[in-house]
């Protein structure tokens, strides 16, 4: 036994199905899991019937660029699709339309708590059909459903920057969060909407450079299993390296029962995919201006929102980060907090109440009023004599004669001013909703 300590050198490849309405190269419905029956969302193109031709889905490409921009990638201004050839029953054309040397995005990064993970490339391709293994009349057969064939698949490949199983898990989770946030993929791992692969090798601590070998962990459909598999592999490889044994390049799966990796295919003979540019599909060309426009019109990213909510609304990041998971619900919360700010309600306290589930978040923008009301009811308020309140209000109105006029003209911001005055003058803790309602009454009179 030697005392050599090894360090994990790991890169990950993640595939995610994009949730466009239609498939990547044809107009069939993109809903493999929800289809009523097998082979019911297929057409000459995705069934690879003789004579059919692909036409690329614009939205899938736009979403790929958006993901790339969100991960700080450079965008290839000129890009194309290539054919990747191999024979397998779930691949109807005998080739997959993918991208070889000019992927849409490259050179990005994703931050984890233990360091930056560089994104090598992001490209777009089509998914294969689904294979089911069964015994029919005593015979082992495979059944094929092409509802999934042709669904747009985005592939994100990292550099070998991952140095612990925990970091691999964190990377995977953060990537999933981002894909869900941008609302381009549901990443449902049980349904195969997101698939993880990890390349695992070890090198002695202190050394640099990539090890001369790697094993590929494939077909792992949970973060927990991924973590376990990497841990197991690290042990297995370390033992072999200690004994001076060579580690075979191979593809490994994770057996959840035996809690061991197992060989799926030897990588000694690399597949010859015979890539060439697909002549059926014209190339894609962007101008730098177009990319800049796309960048501008991108939704704000989570980190930016969290920062801004702190400076604008005073909301603690630990609350913000738990409150939204998509562009859509971030928008709804934005309008809630903006409203709260106008009505001098503490957004931070509101956020805390939401996080602690004391009140429920609005599902649509119009529900904001209700949420604010619920929040108001949470806080105990001093009993207030409504007559006294009314008197206070009348007093303030008479001291500020132009307010009525302004309100009549439609300048609603005077409400905020009045509320501030009332709160200050009264010196009590007042229910803002009540105050506002009473002010309105007075103004209408």
């Amino acid at each position: 036994m030697t005392d050599i300590k090894y360090e994990l050198v790991c890169g990950m490849e993640v595939h995610a199905e994009l949730k466009t309405a239609s498939k990547m190269f044809c107009g069939c419905k993109n809903d493999p899991f929800g289809a009523e029956k097998p082979n019911s969302h297929t057409c000459p193109v995705c069934l690879a019937l003789p004579g059919a031709l692909p036409v690329a889905n614009k939205k899938a490409i736009e979403w790929t660029i958006m993901l790339g921009l969100a991960l700080g990638c450079k965008i290839n201004l000129f890009s194309k699709f290539d054919r990747k050839h191999y024979f397998y029953p779930d691949l109807p054309k005998g080739y997959q339309i993918s991208q070889y040397d000019l992927p849409f995005c490259y050179d990005g990064k994703l931050e984890t708590s233990s360091g930056t993970v560089r994104i090598h490339r992001i490209h777009l391709e089509e998914d294969t059909g689904k294979l089911l293994h069964k015994k029919i009349n005593g015979e082992d057969v495979s059944l094929i459903d092409f509802n999934r064939g042709g669904v747009p698949l985005i592939e994100i490949v990292t550099e070998a920057d991952i140095h612990s199983p925990e970091q691999a898990k964190e990377y995977g989770k953060k990537l999933r969060e981002l894909l869900r946030y941008l609302e381009i993929s549901d990443c449902d791992m049980d349904q195969g909407g997101m698939r993880l692969e990890a390349n695992v090798s070890l090198r002695p601590v202190g050394e640099n450079g990539l090890p001369s070998y790697k094993t590929e962990l494939k077909n792992i459909n949970s973060f927990k299993f991924m973590e376990q598999a990497i841990n197991f592999e690290m042990d297995r490889q370390a033992k072999k390296l200690d004994l001076g044994e060579e580690i075979q390049q191979e593809t490994l799966g994770w057996n959840t029962t035996t809690q061991e990796t197992f060989s799926q295919r030897s990588k000694e003979e690399a597949e010859d995919y015979r890539y060439f540019p697909d002549p059926d599909l014209p190339p894609i060309r962007f101008t730098q201006t177009q990319i800049d426009e796309m960048k501008k019109s991108m939704p704000e990213l989570p980190t930016q929102i969290i920062e801004r909510w702190k400076s604008e609304y005073g909301i603690e990041p630990r609350f913000s980060s738990m409150l939204f998971s998509s562009v859509s619900n971030a928008k709804i919360l934005e309008s809630l907090f903006s409203k709260a700010k106008k009505e001098k309600i503490s957004a931070d306290k509101l956020a805390s109440a939401l996080v602690n589930k004391q009140i429920s978040a609005p599902k649509i923008q119009d529900d904001a009023e209700k949420t604010l009301k619920d929040f108001a009811n949470l806080n105990s308020v001093d009993d207030v004599d409504t007559d006294e309140l009314k008197t206070t209000i009348e007093k303030i109105l008479s001291e500020n004669p132009d307010v009525r006029e302004k309100y009549a003209r439609g300048e609603k911001q005077v409400l905020g001013f009045l509320m501030g005055q009332v709160m200050r003058t009264s010196g009590k803790r007042l229910d803002p909703v009540l105050v506002r309602a009473t002010i309105l009454l007075s103004l209408e009179e």
């Binding site: 003789p50 004579g51 031709l53 036409v55 050839h85 029953p89 109807p92």
Partner: protein, 475 residues
């Protein structure tokens, strides 16, 4: 004989009710019945009951339809999918295959009112220049039944040549429309790449395949092209350029047209008879006011390997879908010629070889395109022979794969570069076999080459000659 008349003549006769569409379809069926047993131009013919019913229906609404193709009988190479009609691409792999959709080119012709008689025999998958590489028997040349009809659209050319239909839609990847047209003494157009939709065309080589008409004259072709040309949203490789009014671009004066003569196509390494006839045709053009320009295009000598590296690579890819799982029979049903091309293509693309083979072919392609662009600055069109020889006897080429490949020497460069080329009949050899020549134009200049071909056909009558098997039908 009705089927010896031009499209315009037929359209006029139909409009004036001097003939009925039923008459026309009956004659077509009669011709097929009488001659196809010998010629073997068809793999499948629609049921006569259906055809006559269709003709009857069309006879009832002649006034409502404007297209000159209304009621005109046509056929298509069996590479074009037809819904619910067996489509084989000439191969046993698809012997019982019934597509659930129809090719765009056929849809357009049917919308214009033309009547589809049946599917023509071909070299399987487009692999061949003699139509002997078919699982449905060889096509025989109507001019000499012991000789080849050319390929791969041999059935299409033979059907037009023996007056079974007014026109046929063939498919040209390396000469497959022009070659059989020349050998069967009919006119055939290879369009600019992308001019006609490929949706529903069983692919041979995706960057080379073109869809085009074979008919008795350039004028007929102009009418057909007007109907089938144009962009198709289902075919991302189809051109968005507007469609010219081809038939109205005919009968324009041709004096002053500069004709390029590439010396590489006029050497001594092929039939001198063919060469002489082409040079005669050039003289004819000169007498009509054209001038000639001598060209030197060295890359033309390498068109065959450039073509085959590209075509074989793409076909090895396009035929990968035939695994017998979703349709068709398994891959052991490929004929040897197709297996050879698939292996050649796999070789050209494989790791370690792709750079020197496939990629070199794509580099050569760039240079060939530049060469053509340079040439079209000096001349308006290029004239070349279509085939190096007249029709060989059956059995000669199919047993000599190398010789078979070399018969594409004059036609392949137009596909590599994407330019249009029409083959027209220019006479006969001493043993009475047809000879054709190509008029090659710049991209999307179909109107110009159709015009020149039409001018030639106004001054000559080679294209009106009919094979002896038509016998007493020839009136």
């Amino acid at each position: 004989m009705l089927l010896d008349k031009s499209i315009l003549e037929l359209a006029s006769l139909i409009k004036n009710r001097e003939i009925s569409i039923t008459d026309l379809v009956k004659e077509s069926l009669r011709q097929i019945e009488m001659l196809d047993g010998k010629v073997n131009a068809f793999i499948s013919v629609r049921k006569s009951e259906d055809l006559l019913a269709e003709a009857l229906l069309k006879d009832k609404s002649i006034e409502a339809h404007k297209s000159p193709l209304y009621g005109i009988p046509f056929s298509v190479k069996d590479s074009y999918v037809t819904e619910s009609m067996i489509t084989t691409a000439g191969s046993n792999i698809l012997k019982t295959y019934q597509p659930p959709y129809t090719a765009t080119v056929i849809k357009k012709l049917i919308d214009a009112g033309a009547i589809l008689l049946g599917k023509n025999n071909q070299d399987s998958w487009g692999h061949g220049g003699s139509n002997e590489n078919s699982d449905f028997g060889s096509v025989k040349n109507p001019w000499d039944l012991e000789r080849i009809a050319g390929g791969s659209s041999g059935g299409s050319a033979a059907a037009v040549s023996s007056r079974m239909v007014t026109f046929s839609i063939g498919e040209d990847t390396g000469g497959s429309i022009r070659n059989p047209s020349a050998l069967c003494s009919v006119s055939g157009l290879k369009v600019s790449y992308g001019r006609v939709s490929r949706y529903g065309t069983i692919a041979y080589a995706s960057s080379l395949d073109t869809v085009g008409p074979i008919a008795k004259s350039s004028e007929d072709i102009a009418h057909i092209l007007g109907v089938i040309a144009g962009v198709d949203l289902k075919d991302a490789s189809s051109s968005m350029r507007p469609v010219t009014d081809y038939s109205h671009s005919l009968h324009k004066p041709i004096d002053g047209v500069k004709i390029g003569i590439p010396k590489q196509f006029f050497s001594d390494n092929y039939s001198s008879e063919v060469k002489e006839l082409v040079l005669d045709a050039v003289e004819k053009f000169k007498s009509m006011g054209c001038t000639t320009v001598n060209l030197d295009m060295p890359l033309l000598q390498h068109s065959i390997p450039i073509y085959y590296m590209l075509a074989a690579s793409e076909t090895s890819s396009n035929l990968a879908r035939f695994d017998g799982i979703r349709y068709g029979n398994d891959r052991s049903n490929f004929l040897p010629e197709s297996k050879r091309r698939i292996i050649l293509g796999t070789y050209a693309l494989s790791a370690g070889y792709a750079d020197k083979l496939y990629k070199n072919a794509q580099r050569a392609r760039t240079l060939l395109i530049e060469s053509y662009q340079g040439v079209f600055k000096k001349c308006d069109v290029i004239i070349a022979p279509t085939t190096p020889n007249t029709a060989q006897k059956l059995g000669e080429l199919i047993n000599n794969p190398m010789e078979n490949m070399l018969s594409d020497v004059f036609t392949t460069s137009a596909n590599i570069v994407g330019v249009p080329s029409i083959s027209v009949p220019i006479g006969f050899s001493k043993n009475e076999l047809p000879v054709g020549m190509q008029i090659i134009g710049n991209v999307f200049e179909e109107a110009d080459i159709l015009n020149l071909a039409d001018a030639y056909q106004s001054e000559t009558d080679w294209h009106t000659k009919t094979p002896k098997i038509l016998g007493s039908e020839n009136d």
